[in-house]
């Protein structure tokens, strides 16, 4: 046997990156989903405790849905766009241009076609219904809201990876959390096995018979059925592995390697403060404009202004944290 490349207990066994039995997996050029669900760029919020990210996204997403207000919506959209571009680079730009812009236009155009409420009639539609300024503006805001939420979700997806969600909700229900982790392991395996079986079957079935739709459907069903058996069969070994490592011998603990540090505490405190300001501003109806019967933006006052400021602080939190890290990094480099 060739042992030339052997390196003790090293970890450099060649990854089967060209394994054609799992088509779909080997794609070095595909936007490789980075290890641990992390983006390739280093990001400050990703480095924070998952609780910080959870509170942040909860605030931002509920803000994006609840606050229909020219200043607040614009802030949220700008913050979301800025952050997703920071995280994903040109992919975020592409997503915004080719995915979100059409969505925004459709949503904005839809409302005035179907809603004719509002006091300011601009024109009459061919059917005789009124085209009102209010319905157009509401459409624009609804579209902006949907787009903003979508963009924040893409960022959320990057930052709150499955293992962080697992950690966050694992504290509430450890058993459920384990099921969650096992599912995350199991589902992709099932998909890979399905592809492997399909690949193997293509090599067995002679080509002419492959064509028929009915036969293909039947084979698809057969694959699903054998997959069930496969899963059960293999889960016996998984169960053995669990039992041999003491599963079921007593109460489980739940391991995590996250620590709340001083920055996390400070950020959480500031986010909490901002949330309190939002609540107050919302109680005074300062965070939502009125669309019908006529457009009316609440005059801000000192509370409204504070709300704007707090909102700006919240939506730009990840970028601010990133900028702070960047600055510190530069400083350490130049002083070194």
């Amino acid at each position: 046997m060739a042992k030339a490349g052997q390196s003790g207990t090293g970890t450099q066994s060649a990854p089967d990156d060209e394994d054609p039995w799992t088509p779909g997996r080997p794609a070095p050029d595909r936007e490789a989903r980075p290890a641990g669900g992390r983006s390739r760029r280093s990001d400050a919020l990703q480095g924070c405790h998952p609780l910080v990210a959870l509170v942040f996204f909860a605030l931002v997403l509920s803000g994006a849905v609840l606050f229909l207000h020219p200043v607040l919506t614009a802030l949220s959209l700008a913050g979301g766009l800025g952050y997703s571009i920071h995280l994903l680079g040109w992919r975020a730009v592409r997503f915004a241009l080719f995915g979100m812009t059409p969505l925004f236009l459709v949503a904005a155009a839809f409302n005035p076609l179907f809603s004719h409420a509002g006091a300011t009639i601009l024109a009459r539609l061919p059917g005789g219904a009124a085209l009102t300024l209010e319905s157009i503006v509401f459409g624009v805001f609804a579209g902006a809201m949907i787009v903003t939420v979508m963009i924040w979700f893409t960022a959320c997806n990057q930052v709150l990876s499955a293992d962080k969600l697992h950690f966050l909700f694992g504290r509430l229900a450890p058993a459920l959390a384990l099921v969650f982790a096992m599912t995350l392991r199991f589902v992709p395996r099932l998909a890979i096995q399905a592809r492997r079986i399909a690949y193997a079957q293509r090599a067995i079935t002679p080509p002419p018979a492959r064509r028929g739709l009915a036969r293909r459907a039947r084979e698809g069903l057969a694959i699903v059925s054998i997959l069930t058996t496969w899963a059960l069969e293999n889960s016996i070994e998984t169960a053995d592995s669990m039992r041999s490592r003491g599963f079921g011998t007593g109460p489980r603990s739940s391991f995590n390697h996250h620590r709340i540090d001083r920055r996390d505490r400070l950020t959480l405190a500031l986010l909490g403060l901002a949330a309190a300001v939002f609540a107050l501003a919302t109680a005074y109806s300062l965070t939502t404009m009125r669309f019908y019967p006529a457009l009316a933006v609440p005059s801000p006052g000192w509370l409204g202004l504070a709300g704007w400021l707090a909102y700006a602080g919240v939506v730009f939190t990840p970028l601010a944290l990133g900028a702070q890290e960047e600055l510190r990094w530069r400083r350490t480099q130049s002083s070194a």
Partner: protein, 603 residues
Amino acid sequence: MAAYTIERLSFAYPQRPAPALRDVSLNLARGDFAVLCGPSGGGKTTLLRHLKPALTPHGSRSGRVLFDGRDWSEVGPRERAQAIGFVSQNPDNQLVTDKVWHELAFGLESLGYPNHAIRLRVAEMASFFGLQDWFERDVAELSGGQKQLLNLASAMASQPSALILDEPTGQLDPIAAAEFLAAVKKINLELGTTVILSEHRLEEALPLADQVVVLRAGQVALAGPPKRVCAQAAAQAAAQAAAQAAAQAGTQAGTDPADQGAAEMLAALPSAVRVYAGLADAAHAADAAECPISVRDGRRFLDAVLGAASDKTKRLAVTGETGARADDAVTPGRDGHGRFGRRERAEGPAVELREVYFRFSRNGPDVLRGLSLTAPRGSILAVVGANGVGKSTALGVMAGLLRAYRGSLAVKGDLALLPQDPQTVFLRKTLEEDLCEALKPLVAGRSERSERAWAAAERVGLGHLMGAHPYDLSGGEQQRAALAKVLLSEPDVLLLDEPTKGLDAALKSALAETLKALAASGVGVVLVSHDIEFCARHADRCALMFNGGVIAEGAPREFFAGNGFYTTAANRMARGRWPAAILAREVVARCRAELGLAPTGGR
């Protein structure tokens, strides 16, 4: 003090008359490295599972197992889990969670360790096994070897005093297997953990062991330090050969069935042992009584046996050719398999790849780069090479499953591909149903289908299992069943991906016979394998792939004779002496010729 004391353990699975274990008694001292070997179905797994109560099968049992001198009733469930680590064959099935760090922590979580204790322990494990680089990764991203190393580390996380490994390298390629065994040896040496390992790769495992136990038909056939066990096995095989010769001389054909397995057992042992077995008489004369088990020892053994003659042979080796001629005289003609062999081969290529380029995605790297390969009809072509050089991809291209973006592919006749994992081949609930279903596009009549399915199953000796679920078959049976299914269409070209993975010596030679019979009937057989010994022994041609192309190609002898690393153990042992000797029996034959001894009848 004894880690395990096994006293007269017998065990039978329910509803099976033959006991799986018969009167097994063993004593394993703390810190021992024990290797358990023997043919598949010999009771290795059953015995190992008796050493880990959580996995002990149900059935009727007598005798007892003591752990650290205590009966299981005195060892609580927590200690049983904590103090005994277990790793089995399939790297994927043992992983429970989706992240490397979580997998490492799983056992400790189950035992209820607090967070800070787990953090330390997990960090220790990651450092000891060198897992830091993939600590935060998804387990799905790891290679098979990395997964198995992770399973080992996870089992070690609770700091067990005994580690039980059930054919842990069965699914790994040779490099990953060697890395894994090195890690196990490191655990044994540096932590003093008792290791009990069942293994088919004895070439690598035996030199690591303090104790070897050969289990056959549920009984301990041999046990002791590796060199002694190997010497005994060699002696038994010699005795059996002599008995057979005597039985052939007289008309009596009855040999003792207990001895029947001796040759089979010897076949599974390292090449050095087989060379020793063939030279036992010379060894006694040269006073080299110790049985060699590694290539290094084997070389020294040859030096000792040949003694003063060594200078002369070196000169002969330099002048070349002598080796090849001697070999032709000694080994029976290799091309003589089957009546049609030669004629069919003259018909030309079965598959021909010409300057094929392939990549998985547009911007990805080329996996195949100008690959040219011709597989003649009626012979076996073995493609060898390290991981990731594109061997499996080449098969995919030959089978038309993957499209080359440059180059040409010519296939004469029908082609079938046996994938690495036989489980991907089956779709139905019973083997019969599965084979009949596969025949649907080929054969119209229902009764005729059934007839052909049965014939196919009988041919691979699985007629009695037609009613069984394909997944319920053993690994070797599954592979034979998959082969039967693939052969239903009576292909002219058969491609096999790693067909010897996880097979023991007996199953390998059975597979070789099947392939040779196919080649004799004119089928072009192409197999991709890491198993150099198998390719050297059974292939008609070998091709070495590297970096997406074929680097060298030739008949096994000329092919392996020139290689320094990538060659058989026997060849590495004979290097500098007889470069053309690539099998243990060839080394033996040359050595005997040199010493002026009569050639042996056996291997």
